[in-house]
């Protein structure tokens, strides 16, 4: 080293500069976290990247008037990555996380692992009195409330009014309409998510719930896969093999479906409400011809039930300021915040009264159908092992055209039970 460097003095300087730089780089993020800001307790709020969330946080900080300061920490974009980061910190008992923005599918797992605190007191009363019932149910584990629903979500049926005057009520009807259009040489495809991931599990779960089937039992301790679950498999198989899906059905995720429909490739789209805003903006001509309706049912005389999505807020078990965190959540998820995010960022509110606000008419013209579906929406299988369950289910159902209803049900029952018993191996 000495032979390479003829100027020891300069070298020391450079090393010093490097060290100083490293020290700044290391302390800067800590300073940004603001562990102590003039005695005001800082609540770290870990949430997925949500447009305009910072405005909500700013408003809540203002309302808190020095009682606490929420600091918004943005998690990765993908739900899986968000969960892995949170879980890793929680498993290490990281006390720098206070408020957790969670996907509805994590409640059971986080509560069972004792990572989040039970919601009690005022927040509990608020949540239970004003929030849509299925969203509250999704935030419960063993009949106790563990999180406060922030926003909620269900899928709708979007259809081309210029191709089909009346939307189909059932899957059979929709398939027939599509085949009819195909025979007439018109745009006919039914587009939805069929790739091997959570989206396929959501599709399957909606089908199961629509015929009152069960994948796991009430307590989430036993795999059931009853007659309803088998019928749902049959419907999924029929749909995948009827020649009405797009060739990329078994690879499609939400955004692929949105884009394909937006470019005029399909007659029907089963997707979340977020597609509307982009359709109005990016394909206004097409949007004029697009209508929305309730998600199709399986039986004509029984309305469909669709899988509920959305996010909720919980307090970490390792938080140093749990009481303040609960208080902050009251502001973060309050009606004012929900209305703001609904109109500015397209998040569907979980508080029913927010839907009555006049400004919702423009942002959510489909709000009546949405609210209708939300009220009867179905939870995903309730078990702490949901992530594992979802992984094995999506693997077994993929590609949907290859489903053998009875056989698939049997092997699903086995692998779901294994997942619940911690014997499940994830692919």
């Amino acid at each position: 080293m000495a032979t390479n460097d003829q100027h020891p003095q300069r070298r020391t300087l450079r090393v010093r500069a490097l060290a100083a730089g490293a020290a700044i780089a290391l302390t800067a993020p800590l300073a940004a976290c603001g562990s102590d800001d003039g005695g005001v307790p800082v609540l770290n709020f870990y949430n997925s990247p949500v447009e305009n969330m910072q405005s909500v946080v700013d408003r809540c900080n203002q309302e808190a008037a020095g009682k606490y300061k929420i600091s918004y920490q943005v998690l990765p974009r993908q739900a899986d990555d968000q969960r892995v980061q949170m879980v890793r910190r929680l498993a290490a008992k990281d006390d720098s996380m206070d408020i957790l923005g969670m996907d509805v599918t994590w409640t059971q797992e986080f509560a069972s692992a004792d990572w989040i605190r039970e919601v009690t007191g005022e927040l509990k009363n608020e949540v239970e009195s004003e929030t849509l019932e299925p969203a509250v149910a999704a935030a419960q584990y063993e009949d106790k409330l563990f999180a406060a629903p922030n926003n909620t979500n269900v899928q709708l049926l979007w259809y081309r009014k210029d191709l089909v005057p009346n939307p189909p009520k059932t899957w059979d009807e929709m398939i027939k309409m599509s085949q009819q259009l195909k025979a007439e040489g018109k745009t006919y495809q039914v587009m939805t998510m069929g790739a091997q991931y959570e989206g396929l599990v959501v599709l399957y779960n909606s089908l199961v719930a629509s015929v009152d089937g069960n994948v796991v039992d009430e307590d989430g301790k036993k795999a059931v896969m009853d007659e309803g679950a088998v019928r749902a498999l049959e419907t999924l198989k029929t749909f995948a093999t009827a020649g009405v899906t797009s060739p990329s059905f078994s690879n499609a995720v939400e955004d692929d479906v949105r884009r394909a429909f937006q470019s005029g490739g399909g007659a029907f789209q089963l997707n979340w409400p977020f597609v509307w805003a982009s359709m109005v903006q990016e394909a206004p001509d097409l949007a004029k011809n697009v209508g929305w309706a309730r998600y199709p049912a399986i039986d004509a005389d029984k309305p469909s039930r669709t899988t509920i999505g959305g996010s909720e807020l919980a307090v970490s078990a390792y938080s140093k300021h749990p009481d303040l965190a609960f208080e902050a959540i009251r502001c973060l998820r309050g009606p004012e915040s929900q209305l703001f995010l609904a109109t500015k960022s397209g998040q569907a509110p979980s508080i029913e009264s927010v839907y009555n606000d006049p400004s919702m008419n423009e942002a959510y013209p489909m709000k009546d159908v949405l609210l209708d579906e939300l009220k009867t929406s179905a939870p995903r299988p309730r078990t702490p092992a949901y992530q594992n369950l979802s992984t094995v289910v999506s693997a077994e159902l993929s590609p949907p055209a290859s489903i053998q209803p009875r056989q698939t049900a049997d092997s699903l029952r086995e692998s779901i039970q294994a997942a619940i018993d911690s014997k499940g191996v994830l692919p």
Partner: protein
């Protein structure tokens, strides 16, 4: 043994004790801990259900088709990529060895892929093979998504591995080529040996130790393949390697028991591969000669 020699020996032990201690702390402890975890039902989702279950996790993993699929995928990637790399690397080594003009430039540019961080390279491969963002996807099939089909995804993973590590193979082989004395080659050509004969009868036997070391390093490396798969397919459509599946069970599934069992099995397999190379093929440590062996 004389008193002085004994003291010298004691000093020797003392001097290497800190290093030995650090080695034990950073490698032996985690290995032993994961063996201990692999004998338990320990799932972070069900903390109260933690119990000692003996070898049950091994039975679960070894009778699971996902594990064997991943094992098969890993073996496939290892065998194909290492074989192709050996051939390509040898060619590259011969070129680099013989270049006279711009030797430094040739060698540096050949090493660029190895210098790029795997994850970064993997991301550019992913974008290149994704329809819409990339130029390669549409080149092969107009409306396909090659990363979502098993066979083409595996081919892309292997291609990315080969692209990435052939330079490393070439570098090790070039060191071996330097061992071949020019006189030997000249003598062979005087005797009328063709180029191919000189290559197979003179160069390869002399290079054997270097080739075996290169193969050992690359085989162990390839067996642990993770980054490329993580970025390219994340293991979807049965493209998980054993490292990938262990990560999924540990980090995503939070199943410490099953995940540790997989880690231990990977460790054992790596040990077996190393054993085969060292004991059966007689691979020596790089730099050591036959005389140097004890």
């Amino acid at each position: 043994m004389s008193e002085g020699k004994r003291q010298e020996r004691r000093l020797g032990w003392l001097l290497c004790a800190p290093a030995a201690f650090v080695m034990v702390a950073v490698t032996a402890y985690p290995i032993l801990y994961s063996i201990w975890l692999s004998l338990q039902r320990y799932d972070l989702k069900f903390p109260e259900n933690r119990e000692f279950i003996g070898l049950a996790n091994y039975a679960t993993v070894l009778s699971n088709e996902y594990w064997w699929t991943a094992f098969g995928v890993t073996m496939l990637i290892t065998v194909i990529s290492v074989a192709v790399e050996l051939v390509l690397g040898m060619g590259l080594a011969l070129i680099m060895h013989r270049t006279i003009i711009g030797r430094g430039l040739v060698r540096t540019s050949a090493l660029i892929p190895y210098g790029i961080v795997t994850v970064v390279a993997a991301f550019s491969w992913r974008y290149a093979w994704t329809p819409g963002t990339g130029y390669l996807a549409n080149l092969v099939s107009p409306d396909g998504a090659p990363l979502t089909e098993r066979a083409s995804a595996l081919a892309i993973i292997i291609l990315a591995e080969i692209w990435k590590t052939t330079p490393f193979m070439a570098l090790l082989l070039m060191a071996g080529l330097a061992l071949v004395p020019d006189d030997l080659l000249k003598a062979a050509s005087m005797d009328g040996a063709s180029w191919w004969q000189r290559f197979t009868k003179v160069m390869l036997p002399v290079m054997k130790p270097a080739i075996l070391v290169a193969l050992l390093f690359r085989t162990l490396d390839a067996f642990r393949v993770f980054d490329n798969i993580y970025v390219l397919t994340a293991g979807a459509n049965e493209t998980s390697s054993v490292s990938m599946i262990a990560y999924n069970n540990l980090m995503k599934g939070l199943n410490l028991g099953i995940g540790s069992t997989m880690s231990v099995l990977i460790f054992v397999t790596v040990a077996i591969i190393a054993f085969i190379f060292v004991k059966l093929f007689g691979t020596a440590a790089p730099g050591s000669t036959d005389e140097g062996r004890r």
